[in-house]
Symmetry: C2
């Protein structure tokens, strides 16, 4: 019964970072998971495409896991499912659009038959049983339709999880945040609020998605050539606004780019995207229309290298070449880390003569996350005993703590935790009782778990300092160095000095021969010696610390 | 005489980019250079510290160069002097603060005795003779004291160059933009305006530097522990405000970090920084003061890895460890590309308990560049026949062209050029008559010109794809491969498959032996064969295209 026992809550990701949201709630007998998302690499994780949470801890408890509960269909909330669901194999509960998106991903991953996806309708105020817990979704507004928060009744009390939200008073789909449901939960007494906080740096409230539609009206009225709009493939409300505005201006709309085409199809099939005027058209037909009759909605609003917008900007798109009557709208703001690629694309498009409209120039994007005043409003609505912000870097969590203090919360009611910390929640309050191992799994291409932290450090060092490859042939028959060691720099900033090179060669040969004279030596021993000699010559001779790669070639077989 | 001949104007940098500002104006007999700046690497230029303009074209014309005219003392306007001035060796004309900064840099570079630096006082409205041209500096406000623009009388007419500017109505040093001087130039008839444009995305006007002082008052009033303020070392007006506010609040001020200590010293010596209350204190004495009596002004506002702020945030600073009553102010906005490092530092500082104030939270930074309305105001003041925006990426130049069109300029009066294009300017107008070679010189550490574009591509590829080193020992006596080729992956995302590895080894040996059977072969020929075999096995076996580094070890000598 609520309040009589405890529940243990652990973020496996999504806290102290933006991305890979995943949260476990564990009672004595049962375990539920909220969201199952992926993240993206930082600038030092060269070559990594996607970062996943480590779910080994969940996999060990697989028998206890009653379900995975999804708040909405964004990648940072569902994207790890195709990669890691098979380690857990619990039923997935999701609102209809997210369920549709997940089903598509699981089919692509070859898991379509095995996975058990259960849709819920947030408007019916369902109560989903999950062992000794129950999950009650309530509708919130966000930058994708069908986003929800959860009221979760646990042995440790009622927990409200906002999901990603804002209070959009005029959402494009006409379905605002369900304030009555939140108030009803509040009346039951909420032990803990888990709140989105990523946009707390924005004072006031985030504007309604509708303001973007108003900007589109101006842009369409002024445009004489083609209109190309780059936005997120999941931002169905924005695509709806493009369709609506295009219809009024006599233009057809063609989605370009795999994720956009897929999402438009799914959203239409499930009734989340309406095209009463029949303006949607496919790519081939679109290219035949006159310039002033077409809008392309394209991928690449974050400067992704293989996206449609990047290819247009690089002039490598097979069909679209921008000219000086075209208008390009970047309907997004760059996520930190993407600025340089996004601005490079904007510069290229201007250079080709396009009129480029982006967030510094006009209101072509609004966030899906609550501003500071909305976060306070949610806190005031829920009136929890305790608060724990999530979905933010540490600065966002800290600023949320300030907000909670302003609202009268004491420090022992405000919980800033890190991934892996186990919070025990009950009538006696909230405390950290344990810390579990969490981690990251790096994906490159289709390869899971292929690159480890050490390889990433090696790559970063190679990139910043270059490498010295030192190849030494060892005559195993004679137990001596054969020929001269070869010193081959790669990506190195300096020309290797001839004296340094010849002294290093002599030192390598003499030192390895000394080791070999004592009897057969393993490659690893020789390699270690090569590494230390080369490092010391590089530093003494050039003040450089490149990565060093010894290669030992065994040549005894050829003349044994 | 103005209007009777022509002058040729070429940007060697600073256009279509932000950084390495350098402009050449060439008449038949004479050549002058405006600014001589450096730039910073982009995210693909691994390991590069600084990017310089290529001044080979200037060096060839050294005999014609009458002088280098400096608008102000920022690195992107003076930073190439210590590296490349010796290629040109013309006198350097600069306002006093810039002259002081340049003199320090030249001394450090060992060029102190050779260089001829001539100060001018902008308030005396000097007319500096430069062959058949004259240069008239006029004062502008910017984020460093003593910034100027130039009126340049040339055989092709009067050219006004704004330098970097804004119209700060209440500058901290009490010296506003010299509007009367600009009007006087305007009355003489201006052929061409060369205008700063980098902040054109800001609507309205950039606020006065004074607003930062007002924020500091609030921050100081609220702070109970130490105050640490990170800002640009050249932002003397801001350091002045820290000194003034600290004095009112009974705190002492210690600059930390080499560039800050140096600049504070130079600015004090030259009378640009005033400390009537005697609040400046050196580092050692500062550490002995109680927390609520000290302000540290530190380097690292852009997240630079070796800066004082980074070291405090990483807990590697030898003296300062942040605790939970300290206030840290990041008095800057991150330059695109620096966001992730800056936010990482902010997160770390919050985590250590500091109150962190940064640009998303409070007005702790204003730009030194004119907003859109100020750019229009300058255009209206100067009333040139032609305009050419500079100091911006292509999007900024394009938006400036829009602004000029709004002001009534025709397209043939608006000149968006790229580096290297030679604009001929005269009574008949402005046209591109030539294009010269321009380029970039990369600096790493103290090494000039050490890394070329090809090496940077190699580094980026190593970082993103990894490397395969293939070492092959060749017995030159027998003309055959000795032992087995060794395949050594580095930073590779996948484990090399055993079958791929052994097939590749066999193919390498057989193919090289076939070449050697035909007679002695050069290393380069063997290396090329290794490269193509390894690449094809890596792609067929693993769908990967790593960089490949063949190393040929000659072992004939050991048993010849």
């Amino acid at each position: 019964m609520p309040g009589e026992g405890t529940v243990r809550l652990t973020f496996l990701g999504g806290i102290n970072e933006v991305g890979k949201n995943i949260l476990a709630l564990e009672s004595d007998n049962d375990l539920i998971v909220v969201d199952f998302g992926l993240g993206f690499p930082d600038e030092t994780q060269h070559g990594v495409d996607v970062v996943l949470p480590d779910v080994a801890w969940l996999a060990e408890r697989r028998a206890k896991v009653r379900g995975i509960y999804i708040t909405h269909g964004h990648e940072d909330h569902i994207g790890a499912l195709p990669w890691l669901w098979a380690d857990v194999r619990a039923p997935i509960h999701a609102p209809p659009l997210a369920a549709g998106l997940i089903a598509g991903k699981m089919r692509e991953a070859g898991l379509g038959r095995e996975v058990d996806i259960r849709e819920f309708d947030p408007d019916s105020r369902p109560v989903l049983a999950a062992g000794d817990m129950t999950v009650e979704p309530f509708r919130v507004t966000h930058s994708i339709p069908d986003a929800v928060g959860f009221g979760i009744t646990t042995p440790g009390g009622l927990i409200v999880h906002t999901g990603d939200f804002k209070f959009d008073p005029t959402p494009v789909d006409g379905k605002p945040t369900d304030i009555a449901a939140i108030e009803a939960l509040s009346k039951r007494g909420v032990r803990l609020l888990i709140s989105d906080c990523v946009h707390i740096e924005t004072y006031g409230a985030t504007p309604s998605e509708r303001v973007v539609g108003a900007t589109y009206e101006d842009v369409f009225a002024a445009a004489s050539g083609r209109i190309i709009i780059a936005t997120f493939a999941s931002l169905i409300a924005r695509i709806q606004q493009v369709i609506d505005v295009a219809h009024r201006h006599g233009r057809r709309v063609a989605p370009l780019g795999r994720s956009l085409v897929t999402n438009v199809q799914i959203a239409q099939d499930l009734g989340y995207l309406h095209d009463p005027g029949g303006v949607l058209v496919d790519e081939r037909d679109a290219h035949r229309l006159p310039d002033n009759r077409i809008v392309y909605v394209v991928t690449g609003s974050q400067g992704e290298p293989m996206s449609v917008l990047s290819r247009i900007a690089n002039r490598t798109h097979h069909e679209i070449e921008v000219h000086n009557r075209d208008t390009v709208v970047i309907s997004a703001t760059p996520i930190p880390g993407n600025e340089t690629s996004v601005y490079r694309i904007i510069d290229q498009l201007f250079h080709q003569g396009a009129e480029v409209i982006y967030s510094s120039r006009a209101r072509v994007h609004v966030s899906g996350h609550a501003g500071r005043d909305e976060l306070r409003r949610m806190l005031d609505l829920v009136k929890p005993q305790h608060v724990a912000p999530t979905h933010g870097e540490y600065r966002h969590l800290s600023l949320y703590a300030d907000l909670a203090r302003e609202a009268g919360y004491r420090d022992d009611q405000i919980h800033l935790v890190v991934a892996g910390e186990v919070m025990e929640i009950g009538a006696d309050g909230v405390r950290i009782v344990d810390r579990i191992e969490t981690g990251r799994v790096f994906v490159e291409g289709r390869v899971l778990n292929a690159v480890d932290e050490a390889t990433l450090v090696e790559r970063d060092r190679m990139a910043n300092e270059g490498i010295i490859v030192v190849a030494v042939a060892i005559d195993r028959g004679m137990d001596e160095v054969a020929g001269d060691p070869v010193i081959a720099p790669m990506g190195l900033v300096i020309e290797l000095d001839d004296t340094v090179r010849s002294e290093m060669t002599i030192a390598l040969r003499e030192s390895l021969n000394r080791i070999l004279a004592r009897g057969p030596a393993e490659d690893a021993v020789l390699a270690q010696r090569v590494r230390s000699i080369a490092a010391s010559y590089m530093f003494r001779g050039h003040r450089r610390r490149p990565a060093i790669r010894p290669v030992i070639v065994d040549v005894s077989s050829s003349h044994g």
